[in-house]
């Protein structure tokens, strides 16, 4: 190998984020693409009593898909182009830091795959001995 380095992921790619949300387990199972709303402009999130909350987001999973007496989950676009999760304190019992870390990891995997597909590069996804996702990309074959 000629070099190695670490990359710190930033969530900017909407399609990769959606693909990641469709891989991570939720309280209602695994979400599908139709259960995730994508809006050009941020829309209000709703609480478990059907009341609009002050928070808005471009990417929304409505409460009926979140599970239990839940509130909507959103991902709000920030001024630097990254997306930040909006999750109520109640829903953080399940959708906690560990869950968000899984979303981030799957985001990086899906973003890498989409980048390879856009460039026509062959790749293979596996897991290593520590159960971490691994992608091997062939460049200039």
């Amino acid at each position: 190998m000629s070099h190695y380095n670490d990359i710190k992921t930033k969530i900017k790619n909407v399609e990769a984020l959606i693909a990641a949300l469709c891989r991570v387990k939720s309280r209602t199972g695994v979400w599908n693409r139709n259960q995730i709303e994508v809006h050009a402009t941020a829309q209000h999130l709703y609480g478990f009593e059907d009341r609009a909350r002050k928070q808005t987001a471009e990417i929304i999973i409505r409460r009926q898909h979140v599970g239990g007496a839940a509130n909507d989950i959103g991902f709000k676009k920030q001024t630097d182009g990254t997306y930040a999760a909006i999750i109520s304190d109640y829903d953080r019992k399940f959708y906690n830091t560990t869950w968000l870390q899984k979303v981030g990891t799957y985001y990086a995997v899906e973003c890498s795959k989409q980048t390879c597909e856009a460039k026509g590069l062959p790749y293979k996804e596996t897991v290593d001995e520590k159960n971490r996702p691994v992608i091997r990309i062939t460049v200039g074959a």
Binding site: Y4, D6, K12, A108, V109, S112, R136
Partner: protein, 63 residues
């Protein structure tokens, strides 16, 4: 050359290893994945990189 990406479960760290690549070209031709994912950390150059640099230097001397 191959790029091997290993994804940590911390939600942000991706280890990138370039295998079977030599010289400066391998940095430029694998940068696209860093651009797609986020911020690259410090690069650690391996023996093959310097092997190619030495070969180029040798060619310059021979001229």
């Amino acid at each position: 050359m191959d790029i091997v990406l290993t994804f940590e479960w911390d939600g942000e760290t991706v280890h990138k290893n370039v295998v079977k690549g030599e010289g400066k070209d391998c940095i430029a031709s694998t940068k696209f994945i860093e651009d797609a994912l986020g911020d690259p950390g410090e690069r650690h150059l391996k023996a093959e990189y310097y092997h190619e640099e030495r070969n180029q230097e040798q060619r310059r001397i021979n001229l």
